[in-house]
Symmetry: C2
Subunit: 158 residues, 2 copies
DNA sequence: AACCACTCTTAACCTAGATTAAGAAATGAC
DNA sequence: GTCATTTCTTAATCTAGGTTAAGAGTGGTT
């Protein structure tokens, strides 16, 4: 385990990287994302302070996702295999599975509005810290659609 | 750990059940799914023989998903907390995370056709064993849309 | 064999969200 | 403070996939 500090915008993992690491976010905010064939970003995960962020590929497999910093950040970096041996990992793994299960169910069953409201409730602090277009990307919709959704919500409250 | 056998159609877990179990599929085929507000099923996971199937809720939380049998099945049932203590769980957990990460990325970035082709490649045996409408549900589309997609694929091959 | 329940396909129509485009507002660099 | 870049909003148009409906297999059950 070692500590590093990185600047906003810095990319710390690329797809194809061998031996992807586990990052514990001490301060700042990380983003995990994929690019599709058309070069469009799809945000897989936001990692604010306290979160453990890692590419979920099988052990020994190369990375498939990008990780970069949305804010200047301080991280603790651990090797996945090492961490695995240490057996400290089970709880965070179960938490991650729970988050992902929810995400899949939401993507399968909920409309854009419902997904946005769920996100607001679940990660209120993230909403304040990242551009709307990134939240749209996390939700699987375009920034324009999110903008529309929000103005409809506002109107319906009058 | 104990072994049980169940019949096709039998529901072995309901949302709200306390202390959800871990099921190792010895033979047969399980299905994990959610119902939305309109009563529509959304398939979260197929569990053929060899797979370990469980609701991914946090330990001690009640179940949120249904589990039933799509074929007569034999299962080994374990308590999650017990299994956790046994530390045998890390590898299956990482595998599960990898599967879920892929699923989320596909749902965010790929069209219905692409998701279907990916499913065919990844789970060819499942395609043979379950009705099309269940594959559609797993992919997050309607049976009608899947039917359309497949006929378009067939035409484009001529 | 006749019936029932399910599954799949096709087609007409509809809607949520994508795309394109342009202007307004916010943020940042110098 | 000014200019440039990025972000957000609005509006017009388009399209993938949803909805509804009806007919054609396919089994299973008695």
């Amino acid at each position: 385990m070692k500590s590093i500090t990185i600047k906003k915008g810095q990319i710390i993992q690329h797809p194809g990287d061998a031996n992807p690491k586990v990052y514990k976010v001490v301060s700042g905010l990380l983003r995990v994302y994929a690019l599709d064939q058309k070069g469009k970003e799809h945000i897989f995960l936001f990692g604010p302070e306290g979160w453990i962020v890692a590419d979920g590929v099988p052990l020994n497999a190369p990375a498939v996702l990008f990780i970069d910093a949305l804010e200047d950040s301080t991280l603790e970096v651990t090797d996945r295999v090492q961490q695995n041996l240490d057996k400290i990992t089970i709880d965070p793994l179960i938490k991650r599975i729970s988050v992902l299960q929810n995400r899949v169910i939401m993507l399968l069953s909920a409309s854009a509005i419902q997904r946005y409201e769920h996100f607001e409730e679940t990660y209120p602090s993230i909403v304040q810290r990242v551009p709307q277009k990134m939240i749209a990307s996390y939700l699987g919709i375009t920034p324009e659609a999110l903008s529309k959704v929000k103005s409809q919500k506002a109107k319906s409250k009058l």
